[in-house]
């Protein structure tokens, strides 16, 4: 809607005034006095009279600042270093004004007005970004928006009592804004977005300093946004430079998470694996390799390692995904539960495949989300069922059950693509020592031993091998499963034709076996 007459000029004037005030102050000096006088000026000009005017002021200010940046960036007569310095001075001044307005909004102990104002400003800047992004297209620049968001976050996380009362609200507001600006919505802002999401202060606040890990679900959502954006490009396998850059940056961030917050990766591994394409093996391994820091993993290469005797396999991992509600439609879930309970009717098994198929179009023939949910749900139910009989899951107790019927049926009935996705879903549970890793390791080995065709055994081998031949890290559960497969004569692994189908494959197996043994 049209701005009231004169508002643009007033905003421009006030902004220049403030930038002048801000930049004439020694860095770090308290600007409260100057700010108080400036607010008085804003009042005199009627800027703070109504919510509508305040909103327009922020929008116009944002647009003026952004325009200034674009003008500076197109001025090639000035060196980039000087251009950057000039841009920073303008944007930092604007950010300081916003931060002071938020801080001093309402009463000192009234957090609502402050948070409301912050959300308003973030929404306005995000809106300007999206509009700018869609208008300028390939001429869009990330810089002004990245600077505004970064500096505003740093300002609002200063160690001041007033700000400390709204710390978590600030975090929530930023996470919400970053979700709105996720790469699939503003691809031209992707790199800046990842910089923001992986900024050391942001990561510290959300992962290390948020009480009771309240920031974790928000951060998980941001990572899911990132993986979802990367997914179609990574599925393409051949990575163009822009995608490689973003992918490599993502790997760095995941490495920091693996090192500093492995429990976070453990908790959300299921959600992440749901959105990472099947061919991104190393990235997926990174996540699956995470284990709680207080856990000591037994060396998988220990001779005669008795996995069944490890105390950790009695405990289930924390999985922050409700797989039960992911099994849809409701009728299918009902039939599934009914089969698990009564192991009847047999027709359920013959109809299982059709429930998992989506379309005949290549690449989207199977409902991978449903497949993953089904595998984890059935496996979890199996573990509970075995335990309810006073037993522990092992190669004997997992067999001859409704649960194993389902797994065996899927292994036999699905085509090669479906089987590959099904086996991937199982392999995604091979992580650190816990009840799921143990159960699904046994399941994979059982399916191999009981396979009625060599194709099933070949594909089980393929799924394990491709996760092992990529560079480290490798999940503990993956290693112990493969070692068991190649060492235990029960499986007659080395007698299979596919082990020797080509010289490279033979060498590969021998090399992997050597490093395993």
């Amino acid at each position: 809607y049209e701005d009231p007459p004169g508002l643009v000029e007033k905003t421009d004037y006030l902004l220049r005034e403030w930038i002048g005030i801000y930049n004439s102050q020694p860095q770090g000096r308290d600007t409260t006095k100057q700010f108080t006088m400036f607010v008085h000026q804003m009042n005199v000009h009627g800027i703070l009279k109504t919510d509508d005017l305040i909103t327009r002021f922020f929008r116009l200010s944002t647009q003026i600042c952004v325009e200034t940046v674009y003008r500076s960036l197109t001025d090639k007569s000035v060196s980039m270093n000087l251009t950057r310095a000039k841009i920073y001075h303008t944007l930092d001044a604007f950010v300081k004004l916003v931060a002071l307005l938020v801080k001093h909004s309402g009463e000192a102990n009234n957090t609502n007005t402050k948070v409301h104002l912050l959300n308003k400003v973030l929404g306005i800047v995000a809106g300007c970004l999206l509009q700018d992004h869609d208008t300028r297209v390939i001429d869009f620049h990330q810089l002004p928006y990245q600077r505004i968001f970064t500096m505003l976050f740093l300002e609002l996380n200063s160690p001041e009592p007033v700000l400390e009362t709204i710390n978590f609200h600030v975090l929530t507001a930023f996470c919400h804004t970053l979700h709105i600006l996720r790469p699939s919505k503003a691809a031209g802002f992707s790199y800046a977005w990842l910089e923001l999401v992986s900024h050391r202060t942001f990561m510290g606040r959300i992962l290390a300093n948020s009480p009771q890990q309240k920031g974790w679900p928000m951060y998980a959502q941001l990572l899911i946004d990132l993986f979802k954006h990367l997914s179609p490009f990574l599925r393409n396998a051949e990575l163009a430079k822009p995608v490689t850059m973003l992918y490599k940056g993502t790997l760095r961030v995941l490495l920091v998470l693996l090192h500093d917050f492995p429990e976070f990766l453990c908790d959300y591994h299921y959600n992440f694996c749901d959105v990472i394409p099947p061919n991104c093996i190393q990235m997926r391994n990174l996540i699956l390799s995470a284990f709680p820091r207080n856990m000591r993993l037994p060396d998988p290469f220990t001779p005669n390692l008795k996995v069944d005797m490890l105390p950790e396999i009695s405990y289930g991992p924390r999985i922050l995904a409700n797989v039960s509600i992911m099994i849809t439609p409701a009728q299918f879930k009902k039939e599934l539960d009914s089969y698990l309970k009564a192991r009847a009717p047999v027709t359920f098994l013959s109809e299982l495949r059709s429930n998992l198929q989506l379309s005949s179009a290549p690449g989207v023939r199977y409902n991978i989300l449903l497949m993953n949910a089904l595998v984890l749900y059935v496996g979890s139910q199996a573990i509970s069922h075995i335990r309810s009989k006073g037993q522990t899951p092992n190669m004997s107790t997992i067999a001859h059950s409704a649960h194993m019927d389902i797994f065996q049926n899927l292994a036999v009935d699905l085509d090669t693509e479906g089987r590959y996705l099904f086996l991937n879903a199982i392999a995604n549970q091979l992580r650190y020592p816990n009840s799921h890793t143990h159960y699904f390791s046994c399941t994979l080995l059982y399916l191999f031993a009981e396979a009625n065709t060599e194709a099933i055994q070949e594909q089980i081998t393929r799924v394990l091998l491709e996760r092992l031949i990529v560079n480290r890290p490798h999940p503990w559960g993956l290693l112990i499963t493969f070692i068991e497969l190649i060492k235990n004569p029960t499986y007659k692994f080395w007698s299979h034709e596919f082990v020797r189908c080509a010289p490279e494959i033979e060498k590969l197996f021998e090399s992997v076996a050597r490093s395993c043994m």
Binding site: R84, D92, Q142, T150, L154, G188, S190, P232, F233, P242
Partner: protein, 47 residues
């Protein structure tokens, strides 16, 4: 193959790739010794 929507996203990313963030974009202004990256020899210490 990439869907049209993703092809469009790639074009945006490709343009942004030529204006990658600079380390100083995420840092407070430094009155002294601003960052001035330079491609130093690989045999110099890197950390």
């Amino acid at each position: 193959p990439l869907q049209k929507e993703h092809q469009s996203q790639f074009q945006y990313m490709e343009a942004a790739f030529y204006h990658m963030p600079h380390p100083s974009d995420s840092e407070r202004i430094r009155p002294y010794v601003q960052r001035t990256p330079y491609p130093t020899q690989t045999y110099y210490i890197q950390a």
